[in-house]
């Protein structure tokens, strides 16, 4: 068990169906796998236009694991929790 908090950032595009779905899926994932050990930031690219470009976010929704080096990105509605787990594993965060 890693003592550090896992820092996550979810880029969404307003209330588009995919973005809504991603929020819901990520919430469920965190409640199951990252209880009490994560920090989640949600960025709406429609409101922060420049930031999305600067961060190289082309596709939304996109989950970026900020704790990983290099940054690891999972795009999509995060409908498959296994992919997110794999991403965390690749980032060296064992769950």
């Amino acid at each position: 068990m890693n003592h550090d908090f896992v820092r996550l950032r979810l880029y969404v595009a307003g209330d588009s169906p995919n973005s809504q779905q991603a929020r819901k899926n990520l919430q469920a994932f965190c409640e199951k796998h990252l209880v009490g050990c994560h920090v989640l930031e949600i960025v709406d690219v429609l409101l922060s236009l420049e930031q999305a470009l600067e961060d190289g976010i082309l596709m939304t929704p996109a989950l970026v694991i900020l704790s990983a080096s290099p940054l690891r990105t999972v795009i999509g509605t995060l409908s498959d929790p296994q992919v997110v787990l794999n991403a965390l594993q690749l980032a060296g965060i064992e769950r």
């Binding site: 880029y11 999305a52 190289g56 976010i57 596709m59 929704p61 290099p70 409908s79 498959d80 992919v83």
Partner: protein
């Protein structure tokens, strides 16, 4: 968004120049303004270059800012490529050009459905801040391949399309296609959606690269549907428009320019027309180059800039070789005459055409010689060469450049008066050189097969090369045969001897008559003298007779006196014997 789409629909026939002359001609002015154009083609077809060139042109020449979204290559690589074409992007980048690096990270994981609204939102900000009018999505297939199924792809492409239309951006989307003709089937709906689609192709024909593009769709106007060859040259893409040049203003000149051979000028009624295209055909060694050289010398002597393009040998060699027949080009090389040697092997005819046009324009040539133009048909260019040569002829006409092309007639392939590259039909003047083999000799014959707008001699002349230059001589006909070479020489000699003999005979007769006249005159003089003599004698005799009579009378009188007689009886007595 639909109301914006409707407003844009009304302007589909408005065009935005691509900055590529040939392509603008094909699409009657350029890309549909405010609409999307699809560029498809295999790897290395020139899609990115074409899109970038258009963007640079609009940013620089039309002051229309543009955005380049790079899905495949990094912007630094694209900038480096652009630098090799001499496009200075650094100055444009600050205010008129924006590059977005949009390569998906290879580490990217996908879980579930996603869309491109994030990118479009970001681009929205850029479009507004830059005031962009143009945008390029380079290698959109990269990002579409990440999407899970066709339905989602279609949805995202629609999203981009709607976004572009709403902002009235003139867009280019490039897409890789595997076989060079058709994009992957999942993406072919793109072709239906966009307002303009261009397919780029790169073939290799007998080892020579042949690029071509074809507009398969262009809403709002007619367009040239044929394949148009193009090249990626030092300054970017140049498209050869095969579009008919009939609506070009061509300056028709009545001015004659010398062919450099006096006798040939008179055969042509004064020389070639200025701006005409002249074709000289003949087997190897029939003096095609020599005839071209004579024209070059004449042109330079008139003070006209001349470009001599040679595919066969080096320019210096030609200058040296032509000096042996008293064609002196050396004094003009470097000022009025530019020699350009090119090798046809491995070259694309299109590239040669481009280079020739470029050189001629840069040099300000008024006369152009391409020796031999048949070199353009070599190594895989056979299909293309006719179109290339036709465009060279059209172009030189438009520019008022007098064009001399030589062409090799290969007897093993062509019989009769055919030219391998069938430019004989578009050339204004066609001079044919051939060897006449007779009585164990080869001699060069020259005939004018056609010369438009000119009453020309239809006689074959013998072309004689000597250290004093080129000359054309009459040929002799004897017993239905044309005599050339030594047979002509013999005939000429025989004629000359006969002439001399005639002259000598005449001289003799003249002398004889003179002598006769002189003799007669002498005779006349003698007779005149005789007459004078006779007259004198006659006078003499008369005087003598008178004197005698006087004397006798005197003597009678004296006698009478002595006898003392009288006048009457004395007279009577005297009469008695």
């Amino acid at each position: 968004m639909s109301f914006l789409t409707a407003s844009a629909l009304s302007s589909v026939s408005v065009r935005s120049s691509t900055g590529i002359v040939g392509l603008d001609e094909i699409m009657r002015g350029g890309l549909p303004r405010g609409r999307t154009t699809l560029l498809e083609g295999g790897a290395g077809c020139g899609k990115t270059v074409l899109a970038l060139q258009t963007l640079v042109h609009s940013a620089r020449e039309l002051s229309e800012p543009g955005i380049f979204v790079a899905f495949e290559e990094s912007s630094t690589r694209i900038l480096a490529n652009a630098a090799s074409f001499g496009w200075d992007l650094a100055s444009l980048q600050s205010k008129n050009l924006f590059f977005l690096d949009a390569q998906p990270s290879p580490e990217l994981l996908v879980s579930g459905d996603f869309d491109l609204s994030g990118m479009l939102a970001g681009l929205d900000a850029r479009v507004k801040s830059l005031g962009a009018k143009r945008i390029v999505f380079d290698a959109l297939d990269i990002i579409l391949s990440l999407l899970s199924d066709d339905l989602v792809r279609r949805r995202e492409v629609n999203r981009i399309h709607e976004w572009l239309l709403a902002r009235e951006l003139t867009a280019m989307i490039t897409l890789k296609s595997s076989d060079g003709l058709k994009v992957a089937r999942q993406l072919d709906f793109l072709q239906f959606m966009v307002d303009c689609a261009i397919v780029l192709k790169s073939d290799v024909v007998q080892g020579t690269s042949q690029r071509s593009l074809r507009v398969i769709k262009c809403r709002g106007s007619s367009f040239d549907e044929n394949e148009a060859p193009f090249v990626i040259g030092a300054q970017g893409i140049e498209v050869a428009s095969t579009f008919s040049h009939s609506n070009y203003e061509i300056v028709v000149s009545d001015e004659r320019v010398s062919s450099g051979v006096e006798r040939l000028d008179s055969m042509l009624g004064g020389g070639y027309f200025r701006g005409a295209s002249v074709l000289i055909t003949g087997s190897p060694g029939t003096a095609k180059t020599t005839l071209s050289g004579a024209f070059a010398q004449a042109a330079c002597e008139r003070g006209e800039r001349t470009l001599f393009v040679t595919f066969d040998s080096h320019g210096d060699e030609i200058v040296r070789n032509l000096a042996s027949v008293d064609i002196q080009l050396k004094p003009f090389v470097g000022n009025l005459l530019q020699m350009h040697s090119a090798r046809a092997i491995g070259g694309n005819a299109e590239i040669h055409l481009m280079r020739i046009k470029h050189l001629a324009e840069e040099f300000g040539a008024r006369c152009l010689i391409v020796d031999p133009i048949s070199a353009l048909a070599k190594s895989g260019n056979a299909d293309l060469s006719h179109s290339v040569i036709e465009r060279l002829v059209d172009w030189s006409k438009k520019k008022g450049i007098t064009l001399i092309c030589t062409s090799l007639v290969d007897h093993t392939l062509f019989q009769g008066e055919g030219s391998p590259v069938q430019i004989s039909t578009i050339a204004d003047t066609w001079i044919k050189l051939n060897y006449v083999v007779h009585a164990g000799e080869r001699n060069r014959g020259l005939s004018i097969i056609k010369s438009r707008g000119t009453e020309h001699s239809n006689q074959v002349r013998e072309l004689v090369l000597s250290k004093d230059g080129i000359s054309l001589t009459d040929v002799y006909h004897a017993g239905g045969e044309v005599l050339m070479g030594s047979m002509r020489f013999e005939k000429e000699r025989a004629n000359m001897l006969a002439q001399r003999r005639r002259e000598a005979d005449n001289e003799q007769v003249r002398i004889e008559i003179d002598a006769a006249v002189l003799e007669l005159e002498m005779k006349l003089l003698v007779i005149q003298r005789e007459i004078a003599l006779k007259r004198a004698e006659k006078l003499n005799r008369a005087l003598y007779a008178e004197a005698q009579a006087e004397d006798e009378a005197f003597a009678d009188a004296m006698l009478w006196q002595r006898r003392g007689g009288n006048d009457e009886s004395g007279g009577k007595d005297d009469n008695e014997p």
